[in-house]
Symmetry: D2
Subunit: 288 residues, 4 copies
Amino acid sequence: MKSKTLPWIFTASCPSVIGTVDVVTRYMAEAENYIDEIHSFDDRESGLFFIRIEFFPQSDDFSEESFSTTFGPRAAEFGMGWELTEPNHRPKVAIMVSKYDHCLNDLLYRFRTNQLNIDVTVIISNHPDLEPLAKWHDIPYYHLPISAETKLEQEAKVIELIEQYDTELVVLARYMQVLSPSMCQYLDGRAINIHHSLLPGFKGARPYHQAWEKGVKMVGATAHYVNNDLDEGPIISQGIQTVSHALYPEDLIAKGQDVERVTLFNAVKCHVEKRVFLNGKRTVIFGG
Amino acid sequence: MKSKTLPWIFTASCPSVIGTVDVVTRYMAEAENYIDEIHSFDDRESGLFFIRIEFFPQSDDFSEESFSTTFGPRAAEFGMGWELTEPNHRPKVAIMVSKYDHCLNDLLYRFRTNQLNIDVTVIISNHPDLEPLAKWHDIPYYHLPISAETKLEQEAKVIELIEQYDTELVVLARYMQVLSPSMCQYLDGRAINIHHSLLPGFKGARPYHQAWEKGVKMVGATAHYVNNDLDEGPIISQGIQTVSHALYPEDLIAKGQDVERVTLFNAVKCHVEKRVFLNGKRTVIFGG
Amino acid sequence: MKSKTLPWIFTASCPSVIGTVDVVTRYMAEAENYIDEIHSFDDRESGLFFIRIEFFPQSDDFSEESFSTTFGPRAAEFGMGWELTEPNHRPKVAIMVSKYDHCLNDLLYRFRTNQLNIDVTVIISNHPDLEPLAKWHDIPYYHLPISAETKLEQEAKVIELIEQYDTELVVLARYMQVLSPSMCQYLDGRAINIHHSLLPGFKGARPYHQAWEKGVKMVGATAHYVNNDLDEGPIISQGIQTVSHALYPEDLIAKGQDVERVTLFNAVKCHVEKRVFLNGKRTVIFGG
Amino acid sequence: MKSKTLPWIFTASCPSVIGTVDVVTRYMAEAENYIDEIHSFDDRESGLFFIRIEFFPQSDDFSEESFSTTFGPRAAEFGMGWELTEPNHRPKVAIMVSKYDHCLNDLLYRFRTNQLNIDVTVIISNHPDLEPLAKWHDIPYYHLPISAETKLEQEAKVIELIEQYDTELVVLARYMQVLSPSMCQYLDGRAINIHHSLLPGFKGARPYHQAWEKGVKMVGATAHYVNNDLDEGPIISQGIQTVSHALYPEDLIAKGQDVERVTLFNAVKCHVEKRVFLNGKRTVIFGG
């Protein structure tokens, strides 16, 4: 089984009942799909079952269609939602930014060096500043300035671009605009935001200033899915670093950038590798 | 200068002006006190100066009295509050607990093995459960049960005990009682509490349940001085650990105990080694 | 499925071939064992498959015997070694120590408070110092002093005690004696040792002194299975902490104790929870 | 004292005797230099004294010359080596690379965004691959391929470039060539290298492969000064990350890049901020 080729990924979720694992693994064996790794988990509070499998098809008959045709009906009996992700799937990603470039620079670096299996197809900003960085990576950059009056109009254009570029995932890489409710709704479940605090601590504006006021000894960052409730979407990853009395708010802002970019990267990577499952307001993450 | 003897510690604070360092170090040189380590810091927001010095007296004339007589007047010119701590000073510590024993067990272990240079002279609890642990360490244990009706009366007895045992520092090692305002005032500046969350996140009761509800990926603990404002005293130390979706609130409670005890130990150690300075609602900590 | 009862644990390993997962999960479904969590992993270098399952039997017919009778033959077809661990299984543990008590104190605390699901039945030492600690926990303590001349003889007595107390796991909690080859062989696979460095760095004696000489900025500890090759057994867990120039070797020794005890605890916990699998000279650990 | 301007930095070292601190701080007071922060440390093993001061000159007469003229003779009495660094000093840095670009990309990003107060004036490589990255940052790139035959000749050209660009610090940012003894000697004390292991563990080639073989649970990186003894120069900073059984050597290589770049950045930052002092084979680091 010495193989460096990437596996197919199967993910599924449904209510917890006996046989959920068996319906999947039995099918995999019958279809001659070699399983390399399984994680499953039943949340006894939500009563939901989650599973993620990496596998290598061994049969020439394997195809997404045949999988769907043969496995689909079995899954239906369990009310199981499932998804198959091919080894070389690179989701099309739109990145939204303002002026801070540390997260953008990090994502583009990892995209360029294949540390992130994504295809950054478009960058959208309410400021022109980061266009040169986009240019160097040969990625289209759209400057859509936003004022209170133009917000809805500009958000409509953002949505147009997201559609036009066939976007699978939107990453808000320090996009410093409060999204309208309709925009939040549009992005629900398909956008990841990075907030510069350990949510739910220091919600809202200027979290590093809030943290400094409180004299905390650790500051952090939180990557979460966007939903209707600002800064309240399901958390995917968090990171922290220790800070001392000698750091002023502007130092925290500077120092926090490293945690922000790593935390956002971790979240995007988990999402792309299909490790993240929604579980009510919480998430299940099968670590890599 | 090869010496394993412990140093004297000098600490001081005053408004930031030119000459604050010089008035101290010049005196030290004149008095033949060998300085092993200095940390100083000026906070440009509060306009305060802080200094901590470890030194070894070289002169036979050295004594606390002579230090005070000769240095005192110079310090007064700067409005400088200062303190001298002898090498073998072991502050008398009263520990207050309820039923959880992880913090108490840890503090007693470190007291017994001289990792903490303290003298635990009395343990006070609103429950009888931890008396055997106290007994094994030969430390008097007072059981003062508290109800809504008896709170003030019992707190008066606690204060009596604190006085009777000449207590320099009170440690609330998971003492699960809300202190009355008068008790808070009494303890202000001389008591350290451990709270089981990364304050100011998850203030109040059942922080691990709150954290679980939010689906956070990290939980923590905060050691802080007690002041009038519950869970708002100046922070001394914080600790965190990562948690996964597979942990329920009761697991977080269990897992959090390790962070709580280490965080509390760190705070007590910093306090005893005179590394902590109050700076308004914040603290300055000169790391070891 | 709301249950706080502990699950049964099933663990198994065999060569990687198609059907390894299916043979297990199909049986579990047929036998009405509700699976709460699965981890499986195939190591493509060693060509071995590893699986760990937590499950709750739903059928009244469930018993270890019936499991063995019905599943055993199926496993045999895959050359699969497997093990079933009951929910309340508390392995009998013998702890060996010398004079340092930080690891012993930690293990006994966690044993006493049920953080570790073990039964510490005997403590064996080449020094008398830690007997009071054993006494307080009501655990028999055997003092077997060792000199170069008496080593083999005394080791024979140790083995006798291990047998007499029906020991399932031996923990070397800073037992400062080099074991003889025959003793190593006896303990192979059923003893965990804590070494006070990040192995394979600083093997052998006085690792903190070695680390200080090199001016490293981090020191650590390694818990590993005992095997024939001193300090070379398969690693189970490692821990680190940062250190500064201001720490002398004796400070590293003191500071390292916290990492040592946490690292050893983590290893024992993983072992007891059946999360550790031998994979040649390496280990597979299914995280909790 | 509310000032966001950067301070002057004074650093010094000499044998430990009484008065070392006083000679500095008394001068500072007399010369009206406002001290913002002091760290001093006496190493009782090496018998050396180290001090770092941040200060803001308050007198119009302040100049490097006047400082030198008036303080110099006092320092000479203590055999004190000292250095004054102006607030806006940006050392000229030459970066040497091969094909891996993660460290280079990180350093250039931080240079471009002023997180590192340096001036990257030239990039030298034995491969042409990273020229586009240099170009985008408008930094001259020299491709000097090296073979066993041409090593000394090419190293001479490297030295020429280092001189030509007035280089104060050379950073080996994953430069995958063993330096000749003469090159090591030339770089002694003014070059920082990043090694991809927790030195002294896994010295030499392919450290991630070595680490994988041993089944370690943590891998790391070490930034150190270059000296004659390959991989043995004084350590400045180290970083680690946990790894699991599921990672193969190629995964460790990929995952390790994050620790390498952060560890190298930390070392360069400490060096540039004059926080690092040589102390025999070890270093003293006054943290920020």
